[in-house]
Symmetry: C2
Subunit: 482 residues, 2 copies
């Protein structure tokens, strides 16, 4: 094909008076003269000036919103406002027509709900161009952060036979037929006949396998899809989402908190440095959205202020026990405004409590540690009971304004006897997890790790409010479209 | 925790006579005096010199292969051969014991088959340390390559409701019970009751969704897990594997070939530049393995020579039709040594033919293009029939020595009428793929892309021979262990 130049590479150029060829989709066509052309390489549109008199009608009438064209012409300084340069078209070729009557994306504002229904076309809007560029930048920053630190990117399995972790409802993966399902002699489903010779599921977390890697390679991270078959139709949950899970040998909870805080600051800074136009657009978008909301629901800060604020402040670190004291004494608790009042130590924190701590009390990201053992997973390291005999584990949750839990992690229980006792108490079968226990039998060592929900990170950085708008094709109950 | 230093950061250091703390796993302990310590951060072991006389027996007897220890002491120049420095231990703490009788990894050579059975521990061997470091480097290089070129990393869905592509057998994803499966009035399984409200599967490729991204963002790539429910128990197939799939708007097959060749050379060069020790080890390993093979099966080149050869030579590009002519005239075809003799144009190429072209005829990577339409997928762009009326498509396969097909791709059929005709011929339901067709209705444009099987790339670069040895926890028929 003719060598085209990407609009991103010329839109801020002042290397004028040369011939260029660009290709892209028509955003608008004003007065039979000015085409706003976008090729996806950047948010901005390149202005194409059409020589109306010398362009055949045939061509002119096909320059419609959504059409794909190839333009060759002279790149010149623009006299118009809002752009440095423009292309004086010499030849225009229509690559793909777009029937203006039928093209769903009219040059007007569409609701996010409508765009979700045409997720295959929403990439062509400014908003989703920006969202997916920021998502890309954050993903790349994650890899760069860990690569610079010497971590090994480990592809833990997506299909697992282990359902021992109990982290949530799982999807079954099978090749067995629903009709004439093979049965054992005792009349149960015979999973020996299934593809993997046993019952298999989609992973809810790569952590346990990640630990196997860390206990040999030292420092690993995963970045892959994870799944929950929960019937949650909310703006914060997906059935399929991406998670980042580092695991570090010879590390304790302190190291773990430092790693998570460093990671979050690094990737946010990377986005700020590399997505200037996209974040400016999204920040402006959020501010405009806010204007339509009642005063009480508006954001206190604009997007850029919020992001910079995260970089410039240490995250607040406190124990669950300290948090409970703050919540007990808090106004909404005293005035019975919380839906779930905090009365006793041991209560699981609800979203309203987390938001109070982060958004009202500390007004910055918060790391809560040392949760009651009863509300946390079997693999978290047990603390010594406190003066009142209360049992806690070396867990941490990182809470973000507007998002809630962004990160969940812990120092892992590396002591075989403690781990076995806890598995027994929680009815977790040791034989199924023999490989996990082996790491405690042969050269165990303190280690720690966490999980970062990637879509929640993208939500925070883009200022979007529905998680279905930050993943290309969201999966949720009754929806696996595209 | 005490601040430890990673062995990678000191093993080549000449910053002597300072105190260091290191932690890791004991590889060997010789003469109650020399510990070879490895913490996973590099292939090399750090020598620890134990002060035998002043170390309690309690400690000495726990310094066994596989045990995890923390050592503080003085970093000094080593008098021994093969190492620059060593640590004169002042304190040794046992972090995790390892019963030498029970620890499966003895300090001797184990077979790859045995290590596959203890995949949770094989990370601690030199071979797998090297393999997974190289795998990491290749993954990072992929992201860096595309990021530098302005591609957007797109997370296409893992769970899909579309089974229209016909790329292979699929795994079903379901929450329906096998007992009392809900039925419709006509007695069929009622997938409306399933989690997604319809029958759903694990993706076999992100390509179709990737095209949706490219037709708006311009240049995208995927890097995620894909699945085949095929009963293939071979050294080249997995049920779960990772694939890289770029899609580029305004690109033709020529651009596609250039992109693929650039990508492969970039990532191989990155591994050579960043995994010197690992590749030296693996190269040596392969040479040793070869010595046990009959002359005819030995590699012509060692690993490093083979990798460098790929960088220094252009891949050979020819059409399927040209390849058929070469194969027809070839010795093994004339002498009837091929299992499948090449007689007519239109035959699908078998592994033996691909290997002949790559390993005997051209002796370098080969890009075959323009395959017969009948043996390729519906989405590949149709060529004009040739003089003899033979129909071909703008497909390309990249064949590598020892590996076979590393990349498969094509220019996509962007013309709506051609695409619809071909879908009809191949009985692919258009209504299920309405979203795919929409990209051809609204501003279609020439575009192209390919799929690179990541594990095959890792196989090639590491010189390993079984694909189960280059992914942490392989999934194949009757196996989903760990």
């Amino acid at each position: 094909m003719i060598k085209r130049e990407k609009i991103a590479s010329i839109i801020k150029s002042t290397n004028f008076n040369r011939n260029v060829t660009v290709m892209g989709w028509v955003k608008t066509f004003r007065n039979n003269q000015f085409i706003a052309l976008n090729d996806g390489s950047c948010m901005g549109n390149l202005q194409i000036v059409v020589d109306f008199a010398n362009t055949p009608d045939e061509i002119l009438k096909k320059i419609t919103t959504g059409a794909s064209i190839s333009v060759s012409g002279n790149l010149v300084a623009s006299l118009g406002k809002g752009q440095i340069c423009e292309v004086k078209a010499e030849t225009i070729e229509i690559l793909g027509e777009s029937d203006a009557e039928k093209f769903p994306l009219q040059p007007k504002k569409h609701s996010l709900e409508f765009l979700r229904e045409i997720a295959h076309l929403r990439f062509r809007t400014n908003t989703f161009n920006a969202v997916f560029k920021v998502r890309h930048a954050l993903a790349f920053a994650v890899h760069q952060f860990f690569n610079e630190k010497g971590f090994v990117y480990l592809h833990t399995p997506i299909i697992t036979a282990s359902d021992a972790e109990g982290a949530g409802e799982m999807f079954r993966v099978t090749t067995l037929p629903f009709d004439n399902t093979p049965k054992t002699e005792t009349g149960e489903i015979d999973f020996k006949e299934d593809f993997f010779g046993r019952s298999a599921n989609l992973t809810v977390s790569g952590q346990l396998e990640g630990e196997l890697g860390a206990m040999a390679l030292g420092e690993i991270y995963t970045f892959g899809p994870t799944f929950r078959a929960e019937n949650s139709n909310t703006a914060r949950h997906l059935a399929e989402f991406w998670m980042i899970e580092p695991e570090v040998a010879f590390a304790d909870l302190e190291d773990n908190m430092n790693l998570a805080e460093d990671l979050l600051k690094y990737v946010i800074k990377y986005a700020i440095d590399n997505c200037e136009d996209e974040l400016a657009f999204l920040s402006n978008r959020l501010t405009e959205e806010d204007k339509n909301k009642p005063q009480a629901e508006r954001s206190e800060f604009d997007l850029m202020t919020k992001l910079n604020f995260c970089l410039e402040n240490d995250f607040e670190r406190l124990t669950y026990t300290e948090a409970i004291e703050i919540l007990k004494r808090s106004k909404p608790n005293q005035k019975k405004q919380f839906k779930y009042l905090i009365e006793n130590w041991g209560a699981d924190l609800q979203s309203e409590h987390e938001r109070y701590l982060v958004e009202k009390h500390f007004k910055k990201p918060v790391i809560l540690t040392d949760y009651p053992a009863d509300i946390k997973s079997f693999y978290m390291r047990m603390n010594e009971p406190d003066g009142q005999g209360r049992k806690t584990v070396r867990a941490m949750d990182i809470l973000f304004p507007g998002i809630g839990e962004m990160v969940g992690g812990s120092q892992r229980e590396e002591r075989l006897d403690f781990l076995q006792k806890r598995m027994d108490e929680m009815h977790i079968p040791q034989d199924e997890l023999y490989w996990y226990l082996d790491t405690r039998k042969f050269g165990t060592a303190p280690h720690a790790g966490f999980g970062l929900g990637f879509e929640r990170l993208v939500l925070f950085v883009t200022g979007m409010t529905n998680i279905r708008d930050v993943i290309p094709f969201p999966r949720f109950p009754k929806n696996a479209e595209f």
